[in-house]
Amino acid sequence: MIDSEEKFFSYLKGGMNSEKKKEFEEELLRSENLNKDFADYKKLHSMLDDVKNIRINKNYSESIITEFRKRKESRIINKSFSKTRFAFTSIVLILIGYFLISFLNQERSMEINSLLTEFSETELESLSRNTAYSVNVENNISDDDVSKIDSIYKENLSASLNETIEENRLDNIYSINNVSDIDEYLSENDVELIYAQLINKEIL
């Protein structure tokens, strides 16, 4: 059926050579159904051809180009206007951002001022001295001092462990040659205890 339609189309549009045309005409004579289908197709085609040849009126035809040029111009104007609008919006946003940040900073400095008024002069002096002292200690402490502090922590820690872990288990721990084997001699509770001690000593 699709093939017949193609043949009809080709026949009506003059797309067949004389041999094919003759062949198709003979086919039409032989088959009544094909003949009927072709008659329907021809009728529809002449109707479509009728419509196909209708032209749009001249004024409208000419106005298409004018309208196109007008729209193109207005698009260019819109484009440049939207660029200006974008630039303007950006400037406004930057200004708003600037004023917002300055306003927030102003509020923060007011908070600091109100905090300062809450403390007396001597309190403020001692606070600044403490801060200066801790900064000074951090900067000036030597390696020897650090190892001294570590050994004090160590002594305290081992004393606490001695108090809390049973003696025979401690002997086992002290008898270990390889530190990496320590896991085998410690129970989960012992590990937790050691960590608790370390935390108490504020080492961790």
């Binding site: 529809l44 419509v51 009126n57 035809s61 298409i64 196109f68």
Partner: protein
């Protein structure tokens, strides 16, 4: 062949800055664009809008056209795609009741001079609108724009077998609709 050269020369002149060359291209193709869009959408106002859109696209994208296919096929591809997109948008808008569809049907500015022709066009448009878009596009391109299946395949990106099947269904439906109209 002469037409191809002419399109090529007009395009070249336009790309070299000759605006009148674009006008000549627009004059040459605007009626084909209009009728394809009108048959796809079924009314003058939508077709008019599509013509303007296609001309704008043509104006902006002509520099990217490499003449690997004919300009005619390329323009049809743009027109067909725009028409389908327009129909989709319109359906969406009517679904959300943003458009009053009755307003856009056969408005005052119908651009056909005599009444008899107007009636013929209206009759066919009414029938065409009853076809699904897929069948409508191939029917229009085959019967009104007289394009070959190869050209239609190039424009729509569908294979020839599918196009033939769609056309066959469209043709049978139209025969029935015309008979009972």
């Amino acid at each position: 062949m002469h037409e191809l050269n002419n399109d090529f020369e007009l395009t070249k002149s336009f790309l070299n800055g000759d605006e009148s060359a674009f006008n000549r291209l627009a004059v040459k193709y605007h009626e084909k664009i209009y009728w394809h869009a009108r048959r796809m959408t079924g009314n003058h106002l939508d077709a008019d809008e599509i013509v303007q859109e296609v001309l704008i696209v043509l104006y902006n994208k002509l520099k990217t056209f490499e003449f690997k296919s004919s300009l005619y096929t390329w323009i049809f591809t743009i027109t067909n795609t725009r028409s389908i997109n327009y129909l989709k948008k319109k359906n969406l808008r009517s679904f959300f009741s943003l458009d009053d569809i009755s307003n856009s049907k056969f408005e005052q500015n119908d651009m056909i001079d005599d009444l008899e022709s107007k009636q013929k066009v209206e009759k066919i448009e009414k029938v065409l609108q009853k076809l699904p878009v897929k069948q409508r596009e191939v029917f229009i391109m085959r019967n009104f724009d007289e394009l070959s299946y190869e050209e239609i395949s190039q424009i729509t990106g569908k294979n020839i077998g599918t196009l033939k099947a769609n056309h066959f269904h469209a043709l049978n439906k139209i025969k029935e609709l015309v008979k009972y109209d």
